[in-house]
C-alpha cells in the first residue's frame, strides 16, 4: 500500500487535506494528515520516519507563502527525502509555473481531480499533474449505443409500420434537384474535386460543377459563374485563417464535463455566429466550460435556395454559411471527444448537407420531415423526398440522426409532435439508420393557452420524457434548446431556466440535452461568448446540487403521460388510415393551422419522377 503524507502548511485551513485524506483512504492508500499550523520541519521529520511515496501540500498562495512552500522543498532536499519521496502542491492561485518555481514535482491546478492526484502518487508518466500536454483522455460518446429500438406498444408499432410502407412506396420513384445536387457533390468528393481550390482533377471538377450549377437558383449560379457573392457575404482571407491556430497553441488542462456524477446526459449547444473564425472561438470556449457537443447552424437563406456555395465564407448575419471548407475549418479545432452535429432538418439542400457533413467529419445529423415541412418552411412533399434520401445517407454513413420536436413552438400539442418524431424514427430504422427523438421541454403556446403549466413546469415536462420509455427503447435527447419560451433577456433568469430544465431532464436519465445561451431571448445582436458561459456554469452548479437524484412522476404527471401516450396512438392511427403521409402533413394531422402550424412553401412543386 502506498503511503501519502498530507500537510496543509496553513495556520488555520485544512479542508482540502481532510477531503484528500478521505478520498485517498477510499482509494486504498495509507493517508496520514498533519494538522493546520504544522511547520515544514515537522512535515519533513514525519516523512523521515514514515517514508511516504508522496507528500501533498495544500496552501493558498500569497506573498511570503511561496518562501514557506519552498522552504519545505529545500528541507526535503537537504534531508534527502526528496530523492525517494515526490512532492505535490495544490491550492488557490497555484499554477504549474509556480509549482515548478517552488521545486515541486507535481502541481494540482483548479478543482480537485482525484485521477490526477493518484497518477501523481503512482508516478505515472501519463499524469496530467506531471505534464499537461493537452492530450485528452475523454472518448467520443456513442449516444445510440445500447438501445434496441424495440417497441413496447404494439398499436403504435403497427401504425408506424403501415405509415412507413406507404411513405417509402410513395417516394421510391421520385427525385428532386436537391437529391441530384447531392449526388453530384458525392461524385466531386470521389474525384477530389469538391472544394473551390481543388486542383486534383480540374476537368472533372469543371464538368461536375457545370451540372451542379444547372440545378441551382439564379443567385447561386451567379456565385459560381460570375463570382458574385450574396449580399453581406465576404471571403475569409487566408491571412485570417492562418492566424487561428495561434489562438489555441498553448497547452491547457483537460476540460472537465458539466456532469457531477455519471456519464449522461451529454450537453450540446449550437453555434453559427455567421463567421467560421468566431464559431471556432465560441466552440473552444464552450468546450473549455464543459460542453460535450455542438450543432452547426446555417443561415435561413441557405435553406431557401437551390444550391450551396463553396469556399471559406463569412458574413454578419445569423447562421454560418454551409460549405465544405467552412465545415472542415470549424471541425479542425474541436476537441477529439466533441460530438458534432451538422443539421439538415429543413430546406432545399437537405441531402447535400448530409453529404458535406459526412465529408467534414460530422458525428450526427438532424432530420425531421414533419417539422421541416411545416415550421421549418420547406414544402412537405419536397422535404419528404429529400428527407428520405437523407435518411438513406445517414444509414449508409452510419451516422445517427436526431429528430427535433420544435413544431411544438408553433402551438402543436406534444402528442402530435411526438407522432411525427415516431414516424421519423420508424422511417430511419426501416432504412437502417439510428434515430434519436428530441422531445422539446418548453413553455409552448399550447401550454399557455390550455393552462397546462399554470401550476408547475415539472409534471408536463417529466410526462413528456417518461412517455417515451413506455413506447420504445430509444435514446432520448430533450432540446432544442430546453426551456424554450421560458427565457427572457435577463441573463440570471435565462440561465436559471436553462439549468432547471436541463437538470430536470437529467433526473429522468436522458442521454443528451441541448441548452441555450443566456442570450437566447436577446434578438438584437449575435450571441456573445460570455452568454454561452453563463448557462454552462448554471447547469454545472445545478447538476452539482442534485447529484444522482432521480425523478419520480407525481400522480398528475402520470395522468399527463397516459394522455400523451393515448393521443400519440390515436394520431398515428389517423395518419395510417389517411394512407398518405404527405397529405397528412398538408392536412394538419401532425399539427394543424388551428394549432398554429402551416405547411411550408419553399420548394413546392419541385418533386419529379425518376427517369427510367
Amino acid at each position: 500500500m502506498k503511503k501519502v503524507l498530507l500537510a496543509p502548511l496553513d495556520p488555520v485551513h485544512d479542508n482540502a487535506i481532510k477531503l484528500l485524506k478521505r478520498k485517498l483512504s477510499e482509494a486504498g492508500y495509507e493517508a496520514v494528515s498533519m494538522p493546520p499550523g504544522t511547520a515544514a520541519e515537522e512535515v519533513v521529520q514525519r516523512a523521515l520516519v514514515m517514508h511516504p511515496d508522496a507528500i501533498l501540500v495544500s496552501r493558498t498562495l500569497g506573498y511570503k507563502v511561496a518562501e514557506t512552500l519552498s522552504h519545505l522543498v529545500d528541507l526535503a532536499e537537504a534531508s534527502g527525502i526528496h530523492d525517494t519521496t515526490r512532492l505535490g502542491v495544490g491550492g488557490m492561485a497555484i499554477t504549474k509555473e509556480i509549482g515548478a518555481e517552488l521545486g515541486f514535482d507535481g502541481c494540482f491546478v483548479g478543482d480537485l481531480k482525484m485521477a490526477e492526484v493518484i497518477d501523481f502518487i503512482e508516478n505515472r508518466a501519463s499524469s496530467g499533474a506531471l505534464e499537461n500536454s493537452g492530450q485528452t483522455t475523454r472518448a467520443k460518446p456513442d449516444i445510440t449505443g445500447g438501445y434496441s429500438y424495440q417497441f413496447y406498444d404494439a398499436r403504435i408499432e403497427a401504425a408506424l409500420h403501415q405509415i412507413t410502407d406507404q411513405v417509402l412506396g410513395w417516394a421510391a420513384n421520385k427525385t428532386t434537384d436537391g437529391i441530384e445536387r447531392a449526388k453530384i457533390r458525392m461524385e466531386m468528393l470521389e474525384c477530389d474535386a469538391a472544394e473551390r481550390d481543388s486542383r486534383a482533377n480540374p476537368a472533372a471538377r469543371q464538368a461536375l460543377l457545370k451540372r451542379y450549377v444547372a440545378l441551382c437558383d439564379a443567385d447561386i449560379q451567379a456565385f459560381y459563374q460570375d463570382g458574385q457573392l450574396p449580399s453581406g457575404v465576404r471571403w475569409l482571407g487566408q491571412a485570417e485563417i492562418d492566424k487561428v491556430p495561434r489562438l489555441f497553441d498553448t497547452p491547457h488542462a483537460e476540460f472537465t464535463p458539466l456532469r457531477h456524477t455519471g456519464e449522461r446526459p451529454l450537453f450540446f449547444s449550437q453555434y453559427g455566429t455567421g463567421c467560421p473564425v468566431m464559431d471556432v472561438y465560441h466552440i473552444k470556449v464552450a468546450e473549455a466550460w464543459g460542453i460535450d457537443g455542438v450543432f452547426h447552424f446555417d443561415p435561413s437563406w441557405n435553406a431557401q435556395r437551390e444550391g450551396l456555395l463553396e469556399g471559406h465564407l463569412t458574413h454578419e448575419h445569423d447562421g454560418t454559411i454551409l460549405t465544405l471548407e467552412n465545415l472542415k475549418f470549424i471541425h479542425h479545432f474541436m476537441e477529439p471527444y466533441t460530438l458534432w452535429n451538422v443539421r439538415g432538418h429543413r430546406g432545399l439542400n437537405t441531402p447535400e448537407t448530409q453529404v458535406l457533413g459526412h465529408a467534414a467529419g460530422a458525428d450526427l445529423f438532424k432530420i425531421n420531415i414533419p417539422y421541416g415541412g411545416t415550421a421549418g418552411g420547406t414544402d412537405p412533399e419536397r422535404l419528404t423526398v429529400d428527407g428520405i434520401y437523407s435518411l438513406m445517407l445517414a444509414a449508409q454513413y452510419g451516422i445517427p440522426f436526431d429528430i427535433p420536436g420544435n413544431d411544438e413552438l408553433s402551438g402543436v400539442p406534444p402528442y402530435k409532435t411526438f407522432a411525427g418524431l415516431l414516424i421519423m424514427m420508424a422511417l430511419g430504422l426501416r432504412l437502417g439508420a439510428r434515430p434519436i427523438p428530441k422531445p422539446l421541454l418548453c413553455y409552448s403556446p399550447y401550454m399557455t393557452i390550455n393552462g397546462r403549466m399554470d401550476d408547475n413546469m415539472i409534471d408536463m415536462n417529466l410526462a413528456k420524457l417518461a412517455v417515451w420509455r413506455d413506447i420504445v427503447d430509444t435514446p432520448i435527447w430533450p432540446g432544442e434548446p430546453v426551456g424554450f419560451m421560458t427565457h427572457t433577456p435577463d441573463r440570471v433568469q435565462s440561465s436559471v431556466q436553462t439549468a432547471l430544465h436541463a437538470t430536470l431532464a437529467a433526473t429522468m436519465g436522458v442521454d443528451a440535452v441541448t441548452i441555450a445561451s443566456s442570450d437566447e431571448a436577446y434578438s438584437k445582436g449575435p450571441i456573445s461568448v460570455q452568454a454561452r458561459v453563463d448557462t454552462l456554469r448554471a447547469v454545472k452548479d445545478e447538476l452539482r446540487f442534485q447529484g444522482s437524484v432521480k425523478a419520480t412522476l407525481s400522480p398528475a404527471a402520470e395522468l399527463i403521460k397516459e394522455e400523451i401516450h393515448e393521443k400519440i396512438a390515436e394520431t398515428l392511427h389517423q395518419v395510417a388510415q389517411r394512407g398518405d403521409f404527405v397529405a397528412s402533413i398538408y392536412e394538419g394531422l401532425m399539427g394543424s393551422q388551428e394549432d398554429g402550424l402551416y405547411p411550408g412553401r419553399v420548394g413546392r412543386g419541385t418533386v419529379r419522377g425518376l427517369e427510367a
Partner: protein, 356 residues
C-alpha cells in the same frame, strides 16, 4: 566543467540580475556555457507580485536545459534538441542549443539526483560552465555547485541592519573546513564514531529535526566521550544550540560534520546557526563539511515589492542603496559584497574562478 549556482534569500533579491551580469561577463571569455534552473524563470512579471522581472537572454551557441513546454515561450530559436529523460511539472527537460538569440524560459530539474544527471550529460557535451539558477530561497540542490553566488536584499527584509546581520550569519557558515569521512559512516544516516574505539552508532534517519533524535545524539556524546558525529541531512539549528548548551564547556575533541553549508541554511535560520556554532566552538568543539560549497561573493539589492492594502497591488519600493551596501560590507568583511547596479565591482569572474 565548472558549475556556478545563483541563490537568493527570498524572491526578488536580485539573483537573476546577478546571473545575467555574470553571463554577460562570461560571454566575452568564450566559455561554452549552459544555463538551467532549479525553478522556473522567464516570465515578464512576477507570479505573485505582478511586478516586472529581469529575463534571461541567451546568445547563439549557448545550451539551455529546460522543460519542453518552455521552449514554446520566449523569443530565442533553438536547434539540436536532446532529451534528458528528466521530468518536471512542465514536461521533460530538453537540452537545446540556442540558434537565434532571444529571451528564454528556463525550468530545469529541481531534485539533486536529477540535477546531478543533467550535469553529467552537459559534461559529456563539452560544456565548460553551467549556470545553475536557484529559485526563491531554495538552495539545497546547490550542494552540487563548484561555487555559489548569494543574493540578499530588501525583499528578504526591509530593515537594513537585519539584512546585513543575516548576510553575515550566512557567510560565517562557509568558513569551516572540508573533511573526508571514513567508511564507518553511512551517507544517509546520522552516525557517531567515538574516539575511544567503541563501535560506531547510527540512527535510521539522515536528519536531526526533532527533540527525540537530538536527545539520542546528546546521549551518545555524553556517554562515549569525544568523537565525530555526522548529520548528513537537515539539522534544526535550535536543536543543535540546545545540544551544545547541554554539553556545556566540555566540547573539546568533539567534531560535528555536515554535508554542506547549504544544508544548514536550508535547515534553519543562519543567525541561530551562528550562535550555535559560536557556543560550540568556544567550548572546544569543531565543525566540518564533506562538501563545503565555496561562496564566491554576495550581492545586495535595495528593491522590494511593497504591498498596498487599499488596492491589493504591489508597487516597487527601495531601501537606501548606499546605506545597504555599506552596512552589508561592514557586516561581512571576509567576502566581497556588491550591488550589481552600483559599480565599480571587483573582478567578479576571478571571484567565481572563471578567469582562464
Amino acid at each position: 566543467m565548472r558549475t556556478l549556482g545563483f541563490v537568493g534569500t527570498a524572491k526578488n533579491t536580485g539573483k537573476t540580475t546577478t546571473a545575467l551580469h555574470i553571463l554577460q561577463l562570461v560571454s566575452a571569455t568564450g566559455y561554452h556555457t549552459a544555463l538551467t534552473s532549479i525553478g522556473y524563470d522567464g516570465e515578464n512579471n512576477d507570479h505573485v507580485t505582478g511586478l516586472p522581472k529581469p529575463r534571461y537572454f541567451a546568445e547563439p551557441g549557448m545550451l539551455v536545459a529546460t522543460a519542453q513546454r518552455c521552449l514554446d515561450y520566449g523569443t530565442a530559436e533553438y536547434g539540436r534538441l536532446q532529451p534528458t529523460g528528466l521530468r518536471t511539472i512542465l514536461g521533460e527537460v530538453l537540452i537545446a542549443e540556442v540558434q537565434q538569440a532571444g529571451y528564454v524560459h528556463v525550468a530545469g530539474p529541481n531534485r539533486r539526483v536529477d540535477i546531478e544527471r543533467l550535469l553529467q550529460m552537459l559534461r559529456g557535451m563539452d560544456v565548460e560552465l553551467t549556470m545553475l539558477d536557484g529559485a526563491l530561497n531554495r538552495l539545497a540542490p546547490m550542494v552540487l555547485a563548484d561555487g555559489m553566488v548569494l543574493s540578499t536584499g530588501a525583499a528578504f527584509d526591509e530593515r537594513i541592519p537585519l539584512i546585513a546581520d543575516h548576510a553575515a550569519a550566512m557567510e560565517s557558515l562557509f568558513h569551516y573546513p572540508k573533511i573526508q569521512l571514513g567508511e564507518r559512516f553511512s551517507p544517509n544516516q546520522i552516525g557517531y564514531a567515538p574516539d575511544n574505539g567503541e563501535p560506531c552508532q547510527q540512527l535510521p534517519t539522515s536528519s536531526m529535526l526533532d527533540a527525540e533524535t537530538a536527545g539520542i545524539v546528546l546521549n551518545w556524546l555524553q556517554s562515549s566521550g569525544p568523537g565525530t558525529c555526522v548529520v548528513p541531512g537537515a539539522c534544526d539549528p535550535g536543536l543543535f544550540l540546545n545540544l551544545a548548551q547541554a554539553l556545556g564547556a566540555q566540547a573539546d575533541g568533539y567534531r560535528f560534520v555536515f554535508t554542506s553549508p547549504v544544508n544548514l541554511i536550508a535547515s534553519g535560520s543562519p543567525p541561530t546557526w551562528r550562535a550555535a556554532f559560536a557556543q560550540w566552538t568556544q567550548a572546544g568543539g569543531t565543525v566540518a563539511y564533506t562538501t563545503p560549497t565555496p561562496l564566491c561573493f554576495l550581492t545586495v539589492n535595495p528593491f522590494y515589492p511593497l504591498y498596498l492594502q487599499k488596492t491589493g497591488k504591489y508597487i516597487p519600493a527601495f531601501v537606501d542603496k548606499t546605506e545597504l551596501l555599506a552596512a552589508a560590507r561592514k557586516a561581512v568583511p571576509n567576502a566581497a559584497v556588491i550591488d550589481i547596479l552600483q559599480p565599480p565591482h571587483p573582478d567578479l569572474l576571478a571571484l567565481c574562478g572563471l578567469r582562464r
